[in-house]
């Protein structure tokens, strides 16, 4: 009989399934669950974008595109980055259209990290960086961002983790799950630490369009940091296009040209219909983003206020669509809190430790839900906390 254990790559066998899965499995089997769990917009993709996809299908554009993506799309992405960050990237050699920000992250990590290399990851953060880095033999070094610093990365913390083996820093801001952002001043301090090193940075800016009261700033905008920064961005969050599976990488040519080889062999090209539709999104949907951002902003304020009133300290996030309240005052662990909450009140949230050990004591609450949905959830959480007190 075949021995699957001996067949499989030991590293993937040792990779833990994401901590979020458990609660989602529970939620899936229950009725009347109010979810605050998912990390994708509740809005539909703007109609003009959907219409464009229909047109493209009608015209039968169903072939592969160039490996790095439609040139017209890369030109639009280049113009977009220029508009937002004031940086120029050559559409021909410095941009790859990827299957979501997810593939962009995968490409960037795999093309840089070799066994033994140290990879610095700010945590709490999105769940995919660590397993990918570890799969290629990288040694992950976590940098814990802290509530007292508004979950920003500080220069001192960064400096203390850098060794001769450090090759890569993952800088995920605006942050999932904390909602933290890095201001220009914060990034200047980080640039100061990095400038005499040979460390590359993956700047995951997938939530760059969703900042409140402060415009997004990229590390690539600071001094000569562009030469070491690989920007990951995409259409999922900004344009409510998660299911279209489209993102991009922008970075210096010597890095991008190697990453293109992996993309070419692993993926060929990103979904064609999505690429045409994305051109439309970049050209015509600024106003749609603005509308969604305003709506998220009202919800964000509502939730921060509600959690603080409930005695669950909640720092005011300035980005993404999550709040990250502290639940230590309940005496429960994140896992216990989430499990009890879903069992007794049918509200699904995600334990903070799913995003790195240092997320323990927190929960991630998504506000990609309507205000009336959020209100009902808060009503149930209020009851839950009262019953906990007994």
């Amino acid at each position: 009989m075949i021995d699957y254990e001996r067949l499989l790559n030991g590293k993937i066998k040792n990779t833990k399934p994401s901590g979020i899965r458990k609660y989602f499995d529970m939620a899936e089997t229950m009725d009347n669950v109010i979810s605050l769990g998912v990390g994708e917009p509740d809005f539909k993709t703007p109609w003009v974008v959907r219409q464009e996809a229909i047109n493209i299908l009608e015209r039968g554009r169903t072939n592969y595109t160039a490996n790095s993506g439609l040139i017209d799309l890369r030109k639009e992405i280049s113009a977009y980055i220029n508009r937002k960050l004031g940086l120029s990237f050559d559409p021909k050699s410095e941009i790859i259209v990827t299957v979501g920000g997810s593939e962009a992250i995968d490409l960037a990590i795999r093309c840089i990290v070799e066994p033994g290399d140290e990879v610095l990851i700010c945590e709490p953060s999105f769940v995919c960086y660590r397993p990918i880095a570890e799969l290629v033999g990288g040694k992950v070094v976590s940098i814990e961002t802290k509530a007292e610093n508004e979950f920003r990365l500080t220069a001192d913390e960064l400096k203390s983790k850098i060794t001769d083996n450090t090759k890569l820093l993952i800088l995920p801001f605006p942050n999932n799950p904390t909602g933290a952002i890095m201001t220009r001043a914060d990034l200047e301090a980080i640039a100061e630490v990095l400038k005499d090193t040979n460390i590359a940075v993956i700047s995951d800016e997938i939530y760059s369009e969703l900042t409140y009261g402060e415009k997004h700033c990229s590390l690539a905008q600071i001094g000569d940091m562009r030469e070491r920064t690989i920007i990951v961005d995409g259409f999922s969050k900004a344009y409510a296009m998660t299911g279209w599976r489209l993102g991009f990488l922008a970075g210096p040519k010597p890095l991008i040209e190697q990453m293109l080889k992996l993309h070419q062999y692993a993926i060929m090209s990103s979904p064609t219909v999505s690429q045409y539709a994305a051109i439309k999104a970049l050209k015509e949907c600024d106003a749609d983003i603005e509308k969604m951002r305003n709506e998220y902003n009202a919800r964000r304020r509502y939730l921060v206020d509600a959690f603080n009133r409930l005695g669950l300290d909640c720092f005011t996030p300035k980005g993404a669509f999550y709040v990250f309240p502290c639940i230590k005052s309940t005496g429960l662990t994140s896992d216990e809190f989430c499990e009890k909450l879903i069992m007794s009140k049918r509200v699904a949230v995600v334990p903070g430790n799913a995003f790195g050990g240092c997320g323990e004591g927190y929960i991630r609450v998504s506000y990609a839900y309507s205000i009336s949905h959020l209100k009902e959830a808060i009503r149930r959480i209020t009851e839950f906390l009262e019953e906990l007190k007994g």
Binding site: S18, E40, D42, T242, A298, R299, R301, D305
Partner: protein
């Protein structure tokens, strides 16, 4: 102001305190802004959005196009005001294009609406002709989807 109006259009029953939190201002400021919008005649009132078909399955909703001879003194104003004063009339609008005035009428049944058109509207001297269109089904009203709630189709995936 824009944000306040947007939130009120979404749900006018939110309290001043709730609005204040969502706008990041004080409740006092919200009250002042609302008072000003009301005083300036920008907010005309607050009403519930009713799915009429659900509320009373017999009720009918009609759009009536009128061709009207403008009056020498008042143009369309006086006739429009006259039509607007009927309780059955939900809205009156002066239009560009092939007809002049569009009237929305709600009635208890088709007969009611037909009688209203023939006895109240068609009899106005300046009204030259009418065309009545009965609404078969409403999908969206006042920016709100009323044809069933949209289901949350998002999967429980890790993101």
């Amino acid at each position: 102001m824009d944000e306040l109006i947007r939130l009120l259009k979404q749900n006018a029953r939110m309290t001043d305190d709730e609005l204040a939190v969502m706008l990041g201002v004080s409740a006092d400021e919200v009250r002042k802004m609302i008072a000003k919008l009301e005083a300036d005649g920008i907010i005309k009132g607050y009403s519930a959005i009713i799915d009429e078909a659900e509320y009373d399955p017999n009720s009918v909703f009609a759009l009536i196009e009128l061709n009207v001879t403008p009056q020498s003194q008042s143009g369309y104003e006086e006739i429009a005001r006259q039509i607007a004063s009927y309780d059955e009339v939900a809205s009156v609008r002066l239009m560009s294009g092939t007809y002049d005035i569009l009237v929305e009428v709600i009635g208890a049944n088709i007969r009611d609406v037909s009688l209203f058109v023939s006895q109240r509207l068609a009899t106005i001297d300046a009204v030259q002709s009418t065309a009545t269109h009965f609404v078969l089904k409403a999908y969206k009203d006042n920016g709100i989807i009323i044809d069933g709630e949209e289901k949350d189709e998002r999967s429980w995936v890790i993101s």
